[in-house]
């Protein structure tokens, strides 16, 4: 039975802190983050890599934690929404989302922020079309997306 499989030790840097974790080989990164590390910012929704609510960054790349094995993160660095701000000082993306009204129910917000962070690392000067393309894996059901796109473009502008 799968839950009897021996645990695997992994070393992961989570939001800048080195962690040694014992995880089941089939454990999903999302469950480890939420249940073992009490990092609840990444949300479970579609379970199928469609909605983006569980998005975190692994070595800077946006991944769906709902379908990413925790053991795959061994030796890597994971960034969650809890690690975005520098102390009380918000990341420009967080500030832009807050000011632009890009947050409504908030369930998609952490995934949107991390997806945008990954995009800006790749492309510091995105066009609106670039942002729309990058958000194809990030669903929001509250906003009409316009404020989210505006916030991302605004944050990119601020960062330059």
């Amino acid at each position: 039975m799968t839950d009897r499989a021996p645990l695997v030790t992994i070393h992961v840097v989570v939001n800048g802190s080195s962690r040694e974790l014992e995880v089941a080989p089939h454990a999903l990164l999302l469950d480890v983050l939420r249940d073992s590390l009490d990092l609840k910012g990444a949300k479970r929704s579609c379970d199928t890599q469609v909605c983006g609510a569980c998005t975190v960054l692994v070595d800077g790349l946006a991944v769906s934690a709902c379908t990413y094995l925790a053991v795959e993160a061994d030796g890597r660095s994971v960034l969650t929404v809890e690690g975005l701000a520098d102390g009380e000082s918000l990341d420009p993306l967080q500030r832009a989302f807050l000011d632009a009204g890009a947050v409504q129910c908030g369930f998609c917000t952490s995934g949107m922020l991390l997806t945008a962070r990954a995009m800006l690392a790749e492309n510091a000067k995105p066009t609106r079309a670039d942002v729309l393309h990058y958000l194809r894996g990030s669903l929001c059901r509250c906003t009409g997306y316009r404020k989210i796109v505006d916030a991302i473009l605004g944050a990119a502008e601020t960062a330059r």
Partner: protein, 761 residues
């Protein structure tokens, strides 16, 4: 006191909960844990309709780590039935499973994996029965019955008029008439008529339904639930378990979207039942596929006949609407009744005959979804208005303008007079879309209007507390689900009490703490809960002025509240100082109370709507003639909101409403075949993405401070969604000459219609 300019109300301030949301600190139900908490999984019927002969849970109960396994037959120690319209729904199937996904058994175990394994050990003897999957099948003579026998009425007084028709699948019929519609249609110069279909669609709140339930040692029940109606849920549970209301506590943390999907009891009865059986806290967390098996919008077939005089005057409307409410009534009968009541939209018409039926089928229960029955009817009426404009050789904007109800005009005897200016919304929408300018050759433009009543009668109560340091607590039970109500309520209290917004805290709903509020739906929170908060804050203000007047020896008319202080011409007393004077120490607080309860009236549905929601949409579309793909290039929504308490959150709501409306207009439809839902996951059920939203999207507001809510506000948030389908279809018709009557406007449907089109001259 002289009227001061508004300071906080009307400002586009960021939401009060934005910081906790952008930092990941906001807590939703599934983020909560309790010591000893068990996890639940639900065994659901694989059949659309089946007799459940036997459920053997013995092997599942024996699995280590399992705390409780329940089937319908085990629920002898409570009333297992619930439902707001009819109590027709058992917590777990009793004898019959009525749709694919109907809960048959449930497990609480140490973790979800163990619970899932236990489900596999449950042995169910099903005997498949003939199912009715569509309106046509359910209404056919001799159709198999989804329910046999008459279910008991639900718990709302305003729903007590609902009656099923025994021996059929019709669970409610609605009839409304004035004048003589058939004679008026016979005498009309132009009559347009057709049947319009609206699909089943799911809300897809990104947070699926979730509940954490715990009984304490004294027999009291607490639930942390993703619900839009904590007080309705409390009443259902009190009935089921025969426990006083005071011993049931429903706490609502942040909600990850609602849109109607979280109105009335959903998973709460199951969670409470399992927690009682397991003797420990139990969390039930649905997946997205389970949300598709929990609630959806009622699909419909609406046939309308609309008659005009040659001069464009609307003279008569006949409507026969059938709504598919699925396997259990939920609030479906009320959707049908209330939606159909306003089937004639925002127009003046003397002769009306409206008939509607709520029809059971063996599909996911249909319930509340943003628009509450109105989008289905507006799809028909607003399409037919353009068909009529064509026949009458009239401009569709002018034809609507000619027939709009005027400000102050009666909609129906006893109901609230029209409280907005439709012509202003239409004029601004037409101007913004450039209606009078020629569109590019490959673009078409269309408009549509809407009118919707809010729930009536309804009750909202609020408590406002002014503390010793001058900070303020607002206690109210409007649920924050993304629409911004916490921010709006904070702004209202801050305005009345003249304090900074960050001095106000709005407590999350908790039936043990925050006072009664009927429901967070029907666009009612700003107008009703907001008004209760305003009255409660005014109560505090009067107490504060009385305290200050006494200490300063001045009449209250010489005093004003300014920036956290009571100010007289020559004196200034901070709130902290005033409270110290009142209580003789730095302690104590002033408590204000607001109750908004307009009660029953002679209006046709038993209550007069507190406001009319009114909006106009204008779309500019293009179509790929090779593929049939429709693209909405520009969209303008204008809503008559009375006053925008917070233009930023309001704009977010209406932009979201438009894009959600584009979902059922272009993309979304729950598809069934052979009794099975084919597309109940987000892999195959497409909701709008960022690149599906109109490249140009503008939401504007008419603000004449003519609403009954605080500072002249009315409700908003549903209005922007409702005109989207007809506005887009009208634009498509004006561009291509094809008129589609079935949503969504998929590329295939559009392509077929384009192919079938007679050559244009």
């Amino acid at each position: 006191m002289s009227a001061r300019p508004l300071r906080v109300v009307g400002q586009p301030v960021p939401r009060v909960d934005a910081l906790e949301k952008v930092t990941g600190r906001a807590r939703y139900v599934t983020d909560l844990t309790l010591p000893g908490m068990a996890h639940a999984r639900v065994l659901r019927s694989p059949y659309a309709h089946a007799r459940v002969n036997r459920v053997d849970v013995s092997r599942a109960r024996a699995l280590p780590g399992v705390f409780a396994v329940l089937a319908g037959a085990d629920l002898t120690w409570c009333d297992p039935y619930y439902g707001p319209a009819y109590r027709d729904r058992p917590v777990l199937a009793i004898d019959v499973a009525r749709y694919e996904g109907d809960p048959v058994a449930a497990v609480a175990a140490v973790d979800e994996a163990t619970a899932e394994r236990a489900l596999e050990l449950i042995d169910v003897d099903y005997e498949p029965l003939a199912a009715v999957m569509t309106l046509e099948e359910a209404l056919a003579p001799g159709a198999p019955l989804v329910h046999v026998g008459q279910p008991p009425a639900g718990h709302f007084a305003d729903l007590s008029t609902l009656r099923p028709r025994p021996g059929t699948n019709i669970c409610h019929q609605f009839h409304f008439a004035r004048g003589d519609a058939s004679a008026a249609l016979a005498g009309a110069d132009v009559v347009v008529q057709d049947a319009y279909r609206f699909p089943s669609v799911q809300h897809v709140a990104l947070e699926p339904h979730a509940v954490l339930a715990a009984w304490d040692e004294a027999g009291a029940l607490t639930l942390w639930a993703s619900t839009q109606n904590p007080y309705s849920v409390r009443m259902e549970l009190a009935k089921m378990f025969d426990v006083p209301l005071a011993r049931i506590r429903v706490v609502v943390p942040h909600l990850g979207g609602g849109f109607g999907s979280k109105t009335y009891a959903k998973l709460e009865p199951l969670a409470a039942t399992l927690a009682r059986a397991a003797g420990r806290p139990v969390r039930v967390a649905a997946s997205i596929p389970e949300a598709f098996q929990t609630v959806r919008r009622c699909a419909s077939r609406v046939e309308m006949r609309v008659g005009f005089r040659r001069d464009g005057t609307l003279v008569a409307v006949e409507c026969d609407a059938d709504y598919d409410v699925g396997a259990y009534a939920d609030i479906g009968p009320r959707v049908v009744q209330k939606g159909t009541y306003t089937a004639t939209g925002p127009y003046r018409v003397s002769h009306v005959r409206l008939e509607a039926r709520a029809v059971y089928t063996n599909t996911t229960p249909g319930g509340a979804f943003r628009g509450f029955g109105v989008p289905q009817l507006a799809w028909a009426l607003e399409s037919l208005f353009d068909v009529a404009a064509d026949r009458l050789k009239r401009d569709p904007v002018d034809l609507r303008r000619q027939n709009f109800l005027a400000h102050g005009e009666e909609f129906a005897p006893g109901d609230t007079p029209i409280d907005g200016k439709l012509e202003e919304s239409l004029g601004r929408a037409a101007e913004a879309i450039g209606w009078t300018q020629t569109a590019a050759a490959d673009r078409g433009r269309g408009v549509a209007a809407m009118l919707k009543a809010s729930v009536a009668p309804s009750v909202s109560e609020a408590i406002v507390r002014l503390h010793a340091d001058g900070s303020v607590t607002v206690l109210a039970s409007a649920v924050e689900m993304g629409q911004g109500t916490r921010t709006v309520l904070a702004q209202i209290a801050a305005e009345v009490l003249s304090v900074a917004l960050d001095r106000v805290t709005v407590v999350q709903p908790d039936t043990a703490v925050t006072p009664y509020d009927q429901t967070t739906s029907s666009s009612r929170s700003t107008a009703m809960t907001g008004r209760a908060v305003q009255v409660a804050a005014e109560d505090v203000r009067e107490q504060l002025l009385a305290v200050a007047a006494q200490s300063l020896g001045l009449p209250t008319r010489d005093l004003a509240l300014v920036d956290g202080a009571v100010v007289a011409p020559s004196r200034r007393l901070t709130y902290a100082e005033a409270l110290t004077l009142r209580f003789g120490m730095s302690g104590g607080e002033l408590i204000g109370r607001g109750v908004i309860a307009p009660g029953r009236t002679t209006a046709p549905l038993g209550g007069s709507t507190p406001f009319w929601e009114m909006a106009v949409g204008a779309a500019e579309v293009s179509v790929d003639e090779e593929t049939g793909a429709v693209r909405v290039e520009r969209y303008v929504s204008v809503a008559d909101v009375g006053r925008a308490i917070n233009p930023l959150t309001l704009e977010g709501q209406d932009e979201g409403g438009v894009v959600q409306g584009l979902g059922h207009t272009l993309l979304e439809e729950m598809l069934y075949a052979d009794g099975h839902l084919l597309n109940g996951t987000l892999l195959v059920y497409r909701v709008p993405r960022a690149d599906d939203a109109p490249p140009e999207l503008e939401c504007r507001f008419v603000e004449n401070a003519d609403g009954s809510g605080p500072f002249g506000a009315k409700g908003a948030g549903e209005g922007s969604l409702i005109p989207v389908s007809p506005a887009v279809a009208n634009a498509l018709a004006r561009l291509t000459g094809v008129r589609l009557r079935e949503l969504p406007l998929t590329p295939e449907r559009v392509w077929r219609a384009l192919r079938a089109r007679s050559p244009r001259t």
